[in-house]
Symmetry: D3
Subunit: 340 residues, 6 copies
């Protein structure tokens, strides 16, 4: 089986207990997370061979991050050990009108300060069919943006399919810089994944009839976004996730896929959230899984939306659901009945 | 006060923390649970003398199970110590579209491998007015099915009222075998308790207008089920619980009682679930409590449904509510206002 | 900056884990709480200088309570150390139809048995602009009721604004006694805070069109309550919080302000509760913050209701939100979207 | 089997996690404990029928205390429900040079304020062969001292053997008062249990060659104490536990028995402490077990010292060891080898 | 690098918190453990390629066990999924005179009921240089004893070095049967590992001058045991671990190696135990690591004893130390000084 | 009361549970710690007014650190908010032969990147009598070394007493650089605190008769070290702590004081460690407390060594003992007897 190579940062994620705020916490749970790492784990859990490439500090925290990936069957043999520190982030879980909150402590992390010679893309892409990255990685440092470009060139040279989740993070870079850097990388991308805000923030492509701070989403408004993204950058596939933030406790969740000049719209789920962080990444992982396995477009978007709906009922970034569970939801059983 | 004798298995129940999946868990909470044990505890908490009969391994796990029953005032003097192991089960709590999940590890448990000579029913039924079992017990082994039959014969010989919760478990036996064995035991039963699926799975008696995987329940469809159960097996009372699985987080909950050829329908509650496992058992315990205390039929079904509604807001299998709390809900106060 | 002086009891608050009942608990979280202490912390967190006055036992529990206040920047220099014990209370979190439950173990606490000489109000009110107390404090003992009266006289003599949250607690005193004692204190009060039940229980002033046990609230019915309170006691401002108890999991929350013979009504929020205990106190703290900072009346009530809405998504009594977070909600963003 | 009746207080015991100080704690473990309750549990765990008599508040904390006793098989049918509060105490675990620390919060507890009519000693002593109390109970209130005296009279009238553990607590009463009250009760006592300090503090009977604050104990010095106690009060048996406090982490532990004018000295154990609180009570329980089962004196003291040595390796007040484990230690296997 | 193949059972291991007894526990930590799995993990942590072969149930518990091995880099590709259940065991940590306690619940586990066709030894031994098993595996079932023999034949046919840790478990089989079965397997073994009891229990070869229940060990007495084992079965190397059980808290630990008719004796460490379970396995893993890397005999035994000394300061079965940490101890730094 | 000003870094300190290694941890306890912050807290707990000066990031982690200091009564009004991140460190607790381990993640912390203008020393030293820093602070960055020098100049100009704990950290800077920078700062220092290694590592002043890796300390060897330090740099007082690392579980602990050309030697304690990190800082805090309160030299060193002995029985960096507890140990009661 050919593998999917994911490149980016994996961080330590600290959560205070339950609904405590960070400022109240005395006991924190450590898990590991990162946009591309989440995709690699999702793929591996679905049975798709995947590899995660990064640089980790050669201390117990770096080793623990590497081991956690290995636990899920992700190939870690191309991870480079070195550099100063593991990036960290702190997440507090919101509820009702109180939003979830994220504090990043990821500056100066090993991968952020990595250099082109750390990664031998020809070797890394041996046996690979697909390369995935997100807009977070080039946001971390100018050096990383260059390394991503190196990887993209190597990937295209080897004929890999390339997917990118735009994943704009205002805390990492301003919209203008994001637009400039990302525009430079998009020509190498085949499959573009975006959420209801990214396209506007990064590329200035705005949906009509939508105000995300009001918790309303209209899938119609995003059809034109998808089409324009495809037209601008030549993507063969554009997928957009649509999150309706009814509150920090309940969200609507749906997605649309634009492929071959057709639109495919998923059902819309109302999710009582356990942990929404990583929801978009689980969508990306499931979409890649569907595409690499040749699902028809409707089935691919339905699978990806159902998988990422279920992820949001699961603690921490990694998706822990099986394909059986996803298919059960795709097939309409959202009743949550116990099987015994 | 005459006692209610309950016979079956009590297991160790392991839960991972909060909403973690079993596969994510490193810390598990141990409680104790079992269909008939839950009924015995519910009765004892309501002030009704009850006894639980089983076989437990003579090790710390068996002792802990026995102590937990004793803690709630259940008479444990007829529990037999011996055999190999305590049955275990693992429960993960679902949320939203993700169903709760149960893994049984109860094969070869002490009670499953018990023999007729382990139980002296004449002695056990001294001072008893009622005998309760569920369809889980005969499902555990052919030997247990025989022992249940011995118990039923002794109970009827002593003039006890007999109740049975059909409690079909697909993981324990196929529908066909369940039907054959249970049909053989039903003639001894006076009070039959069923949920919205059992009667169909075990006896092929199907409700009209209902598709449980869609989360819809119609109490009308179950009236005919209750009547047909009573007609087939000569039950003097049939109680059916109706669960509408809106999601793994929110359920509808109601019940109907068929007695003296009349139907009594409870109010329907929408429950934001804390732990739904044991809900049916708490219904059974509350119903027996009502019947043994001579409640009129409407009051009995209202009490049983309200008690089991409240149970589903309580962690672990045992119901921990007082009769005062149940009456408050029966009387219409579902506001959850704090009393202080 | 002039300070707000709050006088009352701070207790140890024990919570069992998650949704466990007190009777199930083996591990309890200790936090600290009390009607007036909660106000002092809320004010200090908003940047308003505040002081808390009480008597605490000179043991580790008293020291821990004092330290916890100091942690939030509350001035503890007028706390008297002495007496026998720290008042305690136990809280279990309700869910759905099961109400939250409070067990008080606060009799004979140090402050309850304090004497007038423990407090030198002239010194305490140095640098103070505002004095706040609640109806809980005079309910604790006759001695405390006297001490409150001493404080009120001193406060008025110094020209402080005085606020009182009526906060009727049936477990502490009967309605009749509450009425008698509180009527004696009201002439010193400028700003009266009440919830939807207090005015009726203590002063016999009843809202029309309201039955709190049904979970319904009508802000119209409370307009007359506010006006009558102001007329009876000469308050210049009356604020009433309105809680609609849909269930123990979900509440409606709103407030009205009567000032200068005008009514100001806040938006109504539906809150998915994390911990509602302390909600009223966080309203009081935010209202005082608004008034001391000269907010116009509409802005004051909007701020207070939004702040206390957010508090109910936070564990334990103390409000842990920032003014930024409150303004975000006041300005209409209730979407709970993550900022990252 | 005749039962042993124990009378006194059972408290809630709060421990912070691990070696944290009380003042550091945010999570506290709740167990239940009390001098006489510990004896009742120890006896029941050894298979000796026992009953615990007290008064408990009719709230969740009182119910939880009662349930915990019932869990261990102690007869709770003579516990009176009523009164205000459950006595509490807080324990922090010392280490090395830092002593363990106890904060009592037991004033005004239900049993402390109980009255003679709460207890019908003739009914309580039905089926009883032995009555046990400690010096803590009369220390709690003058009323309780009277009630103990009533119980003693009734016990002697029924021919019960009476044991008393002197258990002096300086935090509860001064030495002089303890001496006066206890002298009044001693004539009813057959078996006197003391530690290396009690006899001196309460009755002024001092061991030679001993300075407990230096961590040294000399069993020789206590022979005369035992003899003088027996002579003064006519005890037929005197047992003295000897604790050498090497540090808060390691103690020496031994005991002597004086019976029939002969001395019986146990081996001395060096214990690496897990929890020393309740050590003396577990000695008392094991001694009563030995005496009621007719052990020869040497065997009785050896069993009692070994049992209480093992208790100090167990968390919380209740002894959780089996007679098999005690005999193994009595027979010389202190190697701690795993049996597998 | 050639790999070491380990065959046996991996179980779920449940520990109550801290020093609680199993019968007291409500929260249990789940780790994974097994004689041969512990060796595989130890080897992989030291950088030696290793593989673990077993059969695991295809449920979340089996998957979690497999993932935990994978986390440490152990090759899990030859694990067979199927069968009924994951073997479990419960461990409580002893202290001072109270021994640690193990309850096995491993009957009917998937590997215990595996059949010869489950394992294709020719494929499994591809790339392998060494095969390791313990006496626990043939003790689990007659079928497993046969499978082990199959494996041994295949291993010798391929020229692998074979090591066996005798690991006698009285709870699994009687001495006589162990002797008969193990004698049949020993001819295939090159490297025999034993503790101070195994050789006597299984083969009747007894050390002079030793009484393990007294906590004394004499390395002299074991020299003849090692020599006789080698002579009887033709082992080229015999290693014996020597544990002096001073108490459940403190043990002496040493080892001797007999190779080439010479004896090599390690230093003796006194270990303040954190968790001694898995100590012998960590010795085995470190010894194999030394031998496969061609360490001279003295260095090999020193490394193995130091590694397993350190393991006993680490929670749960798996050894988590690095070769650097082992060498530091081998080189004499046992001071436990912090490096910062 | 004049205050003691401490300047340096306060970090978040993450500990895995119990004796788990960092690499095993999933739940981490967050406390706050730093060489000079520990001194400020120790002083405040003893009743000595103290202030801590640093720069903290204006996020929840910075706020939590500030609040924790305030909780202990430390004056935080001169803390500057700003900069990027809170320094972090991870600590795992060693046992027996396994050393405790520290991972620093403190680079780029707010205070490390602070600039001279952040601190107005004239204002900061208002009301101050003493200034304390450690060798850690100038090690963090060249900028900080400059700022320390600014502070020292201002302190001397205002006539403050200056103390410095040399506190060499090999992970922060090489010995040569430490020597150069520290030699430049020493002329401003009055009271020098060192441990058994610092003087050698930083200034090349070596004790005779000592090999710290062997766990042996000889107070004689350090007399000359103290004298030479005083001679070299003109200190009026030199205090040296002596740690004998018997193992990671048990340490010897003592100190010597050189003042007025005389030596004062404390008793030597053997400590069964709970948490040794922060031990030296608690010594420094207690020494300053003694000196500022005019203790005679022998009393000062005895107090400081006893206080820091007790600290090592307490979890986390901050010392939580009272002066009463210290005096009890100074006066010879190391028995750890419970007071009740």
């Amino acid at each position: 089986m050919s593998k999917v190579v994911c490149f980016g940062e994996i961080m330590g994620r600290f959560n205070p207990d339950g609904f405590l705020r960070i400022v109240q916490g005395s006991s924190f749970h450590l898990s590991f997370a990162g946009g591309e790492a989440n995709v690699a784990v999702a793929l591996s859990n679905f049975g798709q061979r995947s590899s995660f490439v990064t640089k980790l500090p050669d201390n117990d925290l770096g080793v623990a991050a590497m081991r956690e990936l290995r636990r899920y069957g992700v190939d870690v043999s191309d991870i480079v050990m070195g550099g100063d520190r593991l990036g960290l982030y702190f997440v507090e879980k919101g509820a009702s009108q109180r939003a979830s909150k994220v504090i990043y402590d990821r500056k100066h992390s090993a991968v952020t300060e990595s250099v082109p010679d750390d990664f031998d893309w020809d070797r890394i892409f041996k046996d690979a069919a697909w390369f995935h990255f997100t807009g977070i990685t080039p946001a971390l440092s100018d050096g990383l943006a260059e390394i991503v470009k190196d990887a993209l060139k190597a990937a295209k040279a080897k004929g890999l399919t390339v997917s990118c989740d735009i994943n704009y993070r205002a805390k990492l870079w301003p919209e203008q810089k994001a637009g400039r850097v990302m525009r430079d990388l998009m020509p190498y991308v085949d499959v573009c994944i975006s959420n209801e805000e990214d396209a506007e923030k990064v590329f200035g492509i705005r949906a009509s009839q939508s105000d995300v701070s009001k918790g309303q989403i209209s899938e119609n408004g995003y059809r034109s976004v998808a089409r324009r993204l495809a037209e601008c950058f030549g993507f063969n596939t554009v997928a957009i996730t649509l999150r309706g933030s009814l509150s920090a406790s309940d969200n609507e969740w749906a997605g649309i896929l634009y492929a071959g000049e057709n639109f495919f719209v998923s059902p819309k789920y109302t999710v009582h959230l356990v942990d929404r962080v990583g929801g978009g990444d689980s969508f990306g992982g499931a979409l890649i899984y569907g595409m690499i396995n040749g699902f028809p477009a409707q089935k691919a978007i339905d699978f990806a939306v159902a998988a990422s709906c279920l992820k949001q009922t699961i603690e921490y970034d990694f998706n822990q659901v099986t394909t059986d569970e996803v298919w059960k939801l795709v097939n309409g059983d959202a009743s949550g009945r116990v099987n015994r």
